[in-house]
Symmetry: C2
Subunit: 494 residues, 2 copies
């Protein structure tokens, strides 16, 4: 492992290669023997569980309930919403048969041609269609509204180029689908959920984000408006980390979901949907980690504190263990996850490298001299700084250190992002600088033509019209020279 | 709702119909517009979440970690384990294509024939094959063992006859898959997990079970031994509620998973797998519920206490609410989930019927006279008994009552089961009595022929060779008259 760690490509050499290697070496995930799909390994999955648990609590605080809808969607459902079919019913996994049989001639098993489905099923790429087909039976009166459902599930999109966590054919996510009696209420929910995402990602994952609204081109297929949170990776590229869609009455109309309102008239229900996925794992890795491996904000670390004893004899170990046991108890009582690694098959240097690679936020080392002196060596993973502290009061110190690391992870990422956001209204300058990464705030005329030209010539896209950025005195579009309608956030993206 | 409730079929009239109606009326689940699949509604899903949370904790206490493996399994993987393919690669959902396109002639969307997969994928009916194909890369030395992985996921089996929760084409479950260096360790894990299931189902879900080992005929396809827990429903039929399989080296050999043991020789890894599913929801419903609707053991109740105010004027309501607020706070502090239903659009009688239908364990009713007297009416759902108690100390009383209801649910089900287990060594008697349900302990010669005859003639099956039942002085098989090898538990089953 120490040797493997040395082999981790440096970010400055090849950021993309560094990422791919890190995901595998830190035991987070690996390519499966199924095209474009991944296996999420226990260490990676335990981080995902922490994301799930916290987000789920935050959803429920806003009145959301979980439910479960079918994996398979009848093909015809996709045809019902015109924009949606364009966006989703293309590259997808299609179930056409329901039985295998033994091949009488060749041996082996083959698809039974007699077991062809009358109508094919699509493995859900997203569930608006099947859910709104269900809501039709749940919604009759304004009293049935709002409906605030979420599901945690797997989805599938037949991606051509895949990368672990960032883009895989199958991925895990949550998708919230709400139905409302009024446009205002649905719009409010759309904005509420992008705020839930932004708060969660910033406060819990220590990843700063820019919130904003997507351009028409980048909108969810079938949405009136798509809100997004965009995070900046250490190579200055954007990672769309969560989206919340105001769907208007598009799905209400497509699936004939009508209700009697308070004035006794029939209305179509208003919809939102919103989701985040295992992509957040990619954002986490690429925002905080370094050339030694993962850096995990303590909130997300499966092991928050590792204790490594340094000893020669069994007696040494016994004396160390005696000192360590009360520390472990006290840390656990404080809700801190701790591992005492006294495995004698691995040398301390190997362990150090391994826990650095896995991003354990705090490392305590105790040798025999520490036992005599009543001290312990403390290392924090984010800065790799070491200090020697008295064992007395060590739990309180570790608690404070974990808070400090969490805060520092955010502060560091925020400083990086802020330093790489540029105002720019000169297209030549933009073209020169975009290769180095960063977010560019540029005047945009609001046309899809300009947007397409930027994308074609620079591989950068309009990430969003950011909230909290002045949309006045914009001047002219940097590409077309026409009066600008928005100040857009433009970047290359994952 | 009150009217709908009246329409709930009585168990004595038609147990099966009662079940089907109850699942839908209590808002647990419903048939989806996808063949054989269900939608799990929020109320039902919140019960499933409680099952998941508690089981997951119990798994983790035994060292198990969660992970995630792909949904799709290459068809060829199924051919690698001879018994397994027989059992699982028959009725299943088969992905053959990966793209849809617009039909130029007819309009609409069709499967693109150019996008046919070289090798078809099967939606996992169970994941031994894909997981052992992955373990091959994880296991090289005895130091890599044991591997103790579990995944919570959806699976699919193309069932012809489906019933909500009990048998659906898609269902949710957990599947644990462990790899071990020795036979002994794998066998120990197999037994450990059936005990985890039995303890969980009995202690947490208040459902008594019989543990035992399956006959060869009823074994998991690819297993050396299958352990089972069998619960008795109120119609005397058995419901297999969880299984744990000792898989020997079958999958180790099929997927060439070898490791260097301590003596430096190559060995095939030993395997177990074990699972429970949303079927447990069926067991829960059918064990405890009555003609008024669901009865939920408090551990599984999304709402444990409902408080209904009885009032005429707004002033009445205000006075009641003032009394109720501190009760709510105190109950919540004690970790008890509580709902105060002051919705003025529904009458009290309607609410009573609704919460009975949904199985809320404790109902508190407060009217104006109660406010004056400092009393509250308490109803327990399991027995429908009411009593009036002083508001002083009500939280402690409710806490005790919840414990008592949990215990009573188990005791009642245990008494029912014990009263319907019969020793029987006369086949004519068996044939007469089996129609009335119950578990029969019968001497069995151990042959598949006898087993098949019983099944054909009585629709009953050998559920297991139960643990803790004497296997001595068995006498002769009740069917063949040959010397018996086992005392088997025989019953009709779901």
């Amino acid at each position: 492992m120490a040797k493997e760690l040395k082999n981790l490509t440096k970010r400055s050499e090849n950021y993309s290669k560094w990422y791919n290697e890190l995901v595998v070496k830190a035991d987070l995930a690996e390519q499966a023997d199924v095209r474009g799909c991944m296996t999420i390994k226990p260490y990676g999955y335990s981080i995902w569980e922490k994301i799930q648990r916290e987000l789920d609590n935050r959803f429920k605080e806003t009145g959301v309930q979980n439910a479960y809808f079918p994996l398979l969607i009848p093909k015809s459902f996709f045809g019902k919403e015109a924009d949606h079919v364009e966006g989703f019913a293309k590259e997808c996994a299609i179930v056409t048969h329901y039985r295998l049989k033994v091949d009488e001639e060749q041996g082996g098993i083959v698809v039974d041609p007699a077991a062809r489905l009358e109508e094919e099923y699509i493995i859900r790429p997203t569930s608006e269609t099947i859910i709104w087909n269900t809501y039709k039976n749940w919604i009759h009166s304004y009293r049935d509204l709002p409906i605030l459902c979420n599901q945690w599930c797997n989805v599938m999109r037949w991606e051509m180029r895949t990368r672990l966590f960032l883009r895989t054919s199958e991925f895990l996510w949550q998708e919230g689908h709400t139905a409302h009696a009024t446009r205002e209420e649905a719009e409010e929910r759309t904005r509420m959920m992008i705020k839930v995402y932004a708060d969660f990602v910033e406060q819990f994952m220590a990843i700063p984000v820019i919130q904003g609204v997507k351009s028409e081109t980048e909108r969810f297929a079938g949405a009136i408006d798509t809100y997004t949170i965009e995070a900046m990776m250490q190579d200055g590229k954007a990672l769309q980390s969560g989206t919340s869609h105001f769907l208007g009455q598009n799905f209400g109309k497509a699936f004939d979901v009508q209700f009697i309102d308070k004035d006794n008239t029939l209305q179509y229900a208003w919809a939102t949907s919103w989701g985040v996925s295992t992509r957040l794992m990619g954002a986490l890795i690429m925002t905080h980690s370094d050339d030694n491996g993962l850096v995990l904000p303590p909130n997300l670390a499966p092991i928050q504190v590792v204790i490594v004893p340094i000893y020669k004899t069994e007696d040494d170990l016994r004396a160390i263990t005696e000192k360590v046991n009360p520390i472990i108890d006290e840390l656990k009582k404080a809700g801190i996850s701790v591992k005492f690694d006294d495995d004698d098959k691995r040398r301390p240097g190997f362990k150090f490298a391994d826990y650095e690679l896995r991003g354990v936020p705090v490392r305590l080392v105790l040798g025999s001299r520490d036992v005599e002196n009543g001290t312990v060596e403390v290392m924090r993973r984010d800065t790799l700084e070491k200090e020697t502290l008295p064992i007395d009061g060590i739990c309180e110190a570790v608690g404070k250190l974990l808070t400090d690391i969490q805060d520092n992870c955010y502060a560091k990422a925020k400083t990086y992002m802020d330093q790489h956001i540029y105002e720019c209204d000169n297209y030549n300058e933009f073209k020169q600088r975009i290769a180095d990464g960063g977010f560019f705030l540029c005047p945009w005329d609001g046309t899809a033509e300009t947007e397409a030209k930027i994308k074609e010539e620079t591989q950068a896209t309009i990430r969003c019209i950011p909230f909290g950025v002045s949309q006045e005195n914009l001047g002219n579009d940097m590409v077309s020279g026409q009066p600008a309608k928005f100040r857009a956030l433009i970047a290359r993206a994952y």
